[in-house]
Symmetry: C2
DNA sequence: ACCGATATGGCAAACGTTTTCCTGCCTTAG
DNA sequence: CTAAGGCAGGAAAACGTTTGCCATATCGGT
């Protein structure tokens, strides 16, 4: 703060444009932003010419200020450097842009207090919507404060959206985790696999639970063994590393509830001298883009991020009530990490 | 536009806080933001209490409006879903946050006209700085218009920064590409490699050129063969796929000027039935995080993104002139894709 | 006591845009 | 020819905050 100094000549304002065009400020405003009021083509032309001549740049701060809401959609995320969330962010930005909005990304590092602070700061910006993505926390006390803050935001006219997060009482956009996982289970059973090890999430997240259940149902009820572990590359690796070899040999297939876990599994198997898929097959969930750099290509369940982004933007812009709508469909993608078996 | 409607009660403003605290608006303002003016501790206390009681959220739009500049740093990037840029963005956001700023990411899809539009829209937001990352374009006409737009922005008090981009006449933050590549070349020569194929960038980017030159110098002047190709996974793959097997056999090492190219090379080699590193070694440049999922782990040159981010934020905030400063050092990281040879 | 300096508080203006309402004009139907 | 209605333009208020400036109170030194 202090001296705002930071030199520079006076900026070109709407008033300058209007004066040069020989019209009033409101008229210039109506031409240069998408107002619903009409302006005669003669005046319109003059305003546009004047704006071009003066290289007028509208002051978005002033616009947001007077309109009481910005063209911004806030995207709150645990991390941005993972492929999954950055792909989601990319899709969201694309979609938002085509609707005249823009996306601001906020990173919480998965720390509850950071999450709260981030929301407080975001509220100050009056975004059109605040969108949360990714697994939430378990500590209920922190969530209550957060929920209060978000309720305040909604009362002030904002919209809160949750993507695959279920620990807050707001409108959700969900994937059909169960159906996708079930399809994967059926497909792999059809390929001849019989003894599957499924790696679930040790933090109790509904979506991950559905993936485990769906897979079990599709594969063959009762024939899968489930281990809970961390929802990360390391989580997948650890399960394999800590498992006695003879126990591991009982399985012909390991399924991670996320691709990252499956990649960790593959890395650990490699260390243990097991070949994928000859000795044991591996599958994941999400279909993140990085997969193309792993060998063999990983079987997984595709989540159509474009559809997710589209739903987010539509609901963010829509009038208040829309309900939580149908889940986004997902579908299995079979690749070389799970060839036909037996 | 149109009706702003979107229900909601009247918002709590600074005026409400001041009234409840029994002080004037300026006093409340001086307490609640970091002004340099002093406020008596009694009044300070009352204002803070009132703000808490009313759950006051400052209106960032209004602040940005009246201050004439926001706390935002704009980060303009070709794509965000690649690991390299998303890691850079993550580091930048971390650093900016600790300085009280926040980062807005804009994606251009590497299309010149999009780049121009993005800059126009960004100018409207009056960010403190606009930071470009990544390879620029070659078409000089598009660049002239862009440079004009950016000059206008700087004249209005903003700051333009370029990260590893050299096609615009603004302050740069550069890596010491040459030294890092030279170190890699020396190290690999020391491991016993003798015939290297280097994949450079077919688009003429200074940084990439330095990497090629640096590697050549370090490895052994005159003994490397260079191919130009696209700066992407596909670019790396294509070179290997299109090369006759007997020609490929002449090399004991392939070096990509980015990690993504190296990964493409590895994928193609695998398809051709060549084992890495037994038949041929591979190395890259950048040390992106995805590398841990590839096998064997890739030798590369580490670029300290934290230092980059720190430099960006420092210069973004700093008063006007700072000059382009010394390049950020990089250093080779030897991994299993390049074991000792012979 | 007096003067200057320093600390603190408040008034009022300013920032650039949108929006409400009013006015005058033009069209059209009767 | 007139009344009603629509259309385009403009004056002025409003948005919430910061800041320049002035007023007052306090303090320290002579």
């Amino acid at each position: 703060m202090n001296e705002t100094a930071r030199g520079g000549r006076r900026r070109v304002t709407l008033y300058d444009v209007a004066r040069l065009a020989g019209v009033s400020q409101p008229t210039a405003s109506r031409v240069l932003n998408g107002s619903d009021r009409q302006v005669s083509s003669a005046n319109r032309e003059r305003v546009l010419r004047a704006a071009r001549e003066l290289a007028y740049v509208p002051n978005a701060s002033a616009q947001a200020f007077v309109r009481g809401s910005s063209k911004m959609i806030a995207f709150v995320v645990g991390r941005i450097d993972g492929t999954y969330f950055s792909s989601m962010a990319a899709a969201l930005m694309r979609e938002a842009r085509s609707a005249g909005y823009w996306v601001s990304i906020a990173v919480t590092d998965r720390q509850p207090e950071r999450e709260l602070r981030v929301v407080r700061e975001l509220r100050a910006q009056r975004p059109r919507a605040i969108v949360f993505a990714g697994s939430g926390f378990i500590d209920p006390t922190g969530n209550e404060v957060l929920a209060d803050e978000l309720s305040g935001y909604e009362r002030a006219g904002g919209k809160v959206l949750l993507i695959s997060r279920t620990d807050l009482p707001f409108e959700r956009i969900s994937f059909d985790n169960r159906a996708g996982a079930e399809g994967l289970g059926q497909a792999l059973a059809g390929l001849g696999y019989q003894r599957a090890l499924v790696l679930g999430s040790e933090t109790p997240l509904l979506g991950m639970l559905h993936r485990v259940e769906g897979f079990s149902d599709g594969f063959a009820p009762g024939t899968v063994e489930v281990r809970q572990t961390a929802l990360s590359w390391e989580g997948g690796r650890d399960v394999v590393e800590r498992m006695p070899p003879e126990q591991l040999s009982r399985f012909d297939l390991v399924v991670g509830v996320t691709d990252e876990m499956a990649l960790g599994v593959m890395a650990a198997l490699r260390v243990h001298g097991r070949r994928v898929p000859d000795d044991i097959a591996v599958a994941g969930f999400n279909d993140i883009r990085t997969l193309r750099d792993v060998s063999p290509p990983l079987t997984t369940v595709h989540v159509p991020l474009d559809l997710v982004a589209e739903a987010v933007v539509r609901r963010a812009i829509a009038g208040h009530e829309e309900g939580s709508g149908p889940p986004i469909p997902t579908h299995p993608v079979l690749r070389e990490s799970t060839p036909p078996h037996h």
